[in-house]
């Protein structure tokens, strides 16, 4: 099983510090949620994990290997990324987009049978098989998001990095995608790191949470240790009320403005 160690990474855009001294670890089969207000550095942290941005200080170790020593192509074989929004204004078909996920793993020219088998499999599990001939420019927000997740899975990653995967989806599809990601992490022993604005969705599906405030970890750990009204009030500057759901043995949060 893979392990990921983030050790004291800091990143600045020119002179503006975006994240500072972030340390945490995760292993295959876990879902780690990153939550925090706007501008707290959630997306920056996610991009630093697969060196889409290179942190000025600190290291990221995957199974003990410093990933700054790996080539971009090797990193793409280990980390799959679903960005917040994908703007593609060219008429690629769904199939073509998914097959691009195979690029890090194929030699120069030909797709092999294996590549098509994997494409079929990931399109089946994401429910995008019927989109294979549809043009990306003609898809709805939800269809695009599921297709991008399919492309990401076609990379056969060990770590899945998701930046607000449910942003453009309606409630039913939000649950569908999260259920699916949950299932995937258990089944394939993937490590999933997901940035989310939706605290309740994060509570429902994540094993661990990292609460960011001003680029630093405010608190991190198990869900019920992090989601404490006191913490949320300090970080988000809103009133938060914890409501227990006895039937499902879980809880959720109701927000209201700070008095």
């Amino acid at each position: 099983m893979i392990t990921l160690n983030i050790k004291g990474i800091s990143f600045s855009y020119k002179t503006i510090k975006a994240i500072e001294d972030i340390t945490f670890e995760g292993k295959g089969g876990e879902i780690i949620g990153i939550i925090g207000p706007n501008g707290s550095g959630k997306s920056t942290l996610l991009r630093c994990i697969n060196r889409n941005l290179s942190p000025q200080i600190g290291t990221v170790l995957l199974d003990g290997t410093d990933i700054s020593k790996l080539s971009r192509n090797n990193i793409a074989c280990k980390f799959g990324v679903v960005p917040q929004n994908s703007i593609i204004n060219l008429p690629f078909s769904g199939m073509e987009i998914v097959l691009m996920g195979r690029y890090p793993r194929i030699k120069r020219y030909e797709y092999k049978d294996e590549d098509f088998n994997i494409a079929e499999e990931v399109m089946k599990v994401t429910g995008t098989l019927e989109l294979s001939n549809k043009l990306f420019t003609e898809m709805s927000g939800g269809e695009k998001q599921r297709l991008i997740i399919a492309r990401c899975l076609a990379q056969e990653p060990e770590v899945l990095l998701l930046d607000e995967p449910t942003l453009h989806l309606d409630i039913k599809h939000q649950f569908e995608i999260m259920e699916f990601i949950h299932h995937l992490s258990r089944e394939k022993k993937l490590l999933v790191i997901v940035v989310s604005h939706d605290i309740n969705l994060a509570i429902n599906y994540c094993d661990k949470l990292i609460l960011l405030s001003d680029g630093k970890i405010f608190t991190a750990g198990n869900v019920k240790d992090v989601i404490i009204p006191e913490n949320l009030r300090k970080v988000f500057h809103v009133e938060a009320k914890l409501i227990k759901d006895i039937e499902k043995k879980s809880f959720y949060i109701v927000f209201s403005p700070l008095n």
């Binding site: 192509n73 593609i88 690029y103 120069r108």
Partner: protein, 347 residues
């Protein structure tokens, strides 16, 4: 068979490429018969046959001999040259469009063409006698221009597309001014420079081909190695990076290959505009945005377009020739405006 629709499309794309390729070969054969001197297909066939088998009877028949000279020394190099220049311009236009994610990009916008043109004019002006100096100067100025534009548009080790376009425009303006100045100084060489700049293939010969051919082969082969990277660059730098592209390195290599192809084309035939704009756009409509198919389609399409325009230009008002650059600009400029309007509407 899985994904029947996908494979049907792939077969269709291969068919289109095959059809395009054979059209090009056919057009080249037809273009051999076009010109002020009427030479029939049968005669051309006879001449080529005799040359291949080194049959010296060709020298006995005076008429056949003169026709053989026209075919081998005038028309054939000209046809091949126009095709090669078309290939270079269309493929470099396509590459720049992938690099900028913008269908309006072309070698002219970057200022590569202007740089190359000034280099060539400079070589003529300095009165270098050897033919090889001309492409060398043109090439080095094209590289210099690309390097300059690239440096100017860089911030924090990333190319900012807006900056790249603007510095391209500025540098193109600068080299245009330098070009005007050298025309002013040119004296009796003025005619030679202007004729070259207007864009045409009337001075074609085998020597030019021997210089251009390796440049085109190197450039196109290089581009074929980067078809995946070009596809991914269309998805944005961030996504390209996430899918394993070393973005900065790839951009540098692509810019290098583009300036190689463009300067080759410019120093052989002057400023022929808009081929790099029209052809990739048409081909994208025909065969889709996947560079695996778009690259060969654009190459063949570029060759076809320039061959067609050149043959037309040299036969429309015989024996006078209209510069090819004039024709492509006449078609291309309205096309550019059409694209611009379309892009505005979609925003």
């Amino acid at each position: 068979m899985k994904f029947p629709e996908y494979f049907r499309k792939i077969r269709l794309k291969n068919m289109i490429l095959l059809f395009e390729g054979s059209t090009l070969l056919l057009m080249m054969a037809i273009a051999l018969t076009v010109g002020p001197v009427k030479i029939s297909f049968k005669e051309i066939y006879e001449i080529i046959w005799k040359i291949i088998f080194n049959d010296h009877h060709i020298f006995v028949n005076n008429k056949l001999f003169s026709h053989a000279v026209i075919i081998t020394q005038v028309r054939l190099p000209r046809i091949i040259l126009s095709v090669l220049v078309g290939i270079s311009l269309a493929s470099s236009g396509m590459t720049l469009q992938a690099l900028f994610r913008n269908p309006l990009a072309s070698p002219y916008i970057l200022g590569i063409s202007s740089g190359a043109a000034f280099g060539g004019a400079f070589a003529i002006l300095m009165g270098f006698k050897k033919a090889i100096f001309f492409p060398i100067f043109s090439l080095s100025f094209a590289f210099f221009t690309t390097f300059l534009v690239y440096k100017l548009s860089q911030r924090d080790k990333t190319i900012i597309v807006g900056n790249l376009l603007l510095s391209g425009v500025a540098i193109a303006a600068f080299f245009s001014a330098m070009l005007s100045f050298s025309l002013y100084l040119a004296g009796e060489k003025l005619y030679q420079i202007i004729f070259w700049l207007m864009g045409g293939f009337w001075l074609s010969n085998w020597n030019k081909l021997f210089i251009l051919f390796p440049m085109v082969i190197l450039g196109i082969t290089g581009l074929f190695f980067f078809y995946k990277e070009m596809n991914l660059l269309l998805l944005g730098d961030r996504t390209a990076m996430d899918l394993g592209v070393d973005v900065e390195r790839t951009k540098k290599i692509l810019l290098f290959l583009t300036s190689l192809l463009t300067s080759g084309a410019v120093c052989m035939s002057g400023m022929i505009g808009f081929v790099g704009l029209i052809v990739p756009h048409m081909m994208r409509l025909l065969i889709g945005p996947d560079h695996r198919y778009l690259l060969p389609a654009s190459c063949i399409g570029g060759g076809l377009l320039l061959l067609f325009v050149d043959t037309f230009a040299r036969s429309i008002i015989t024996p006078v020739e209209v510069p090819v650059g004039v024709f492509t600009a006449l078609i291309g400029a309205p096309f550019f405006l059409f694209l611009l309007k379309q892009q505005r509407n979609s925003q």
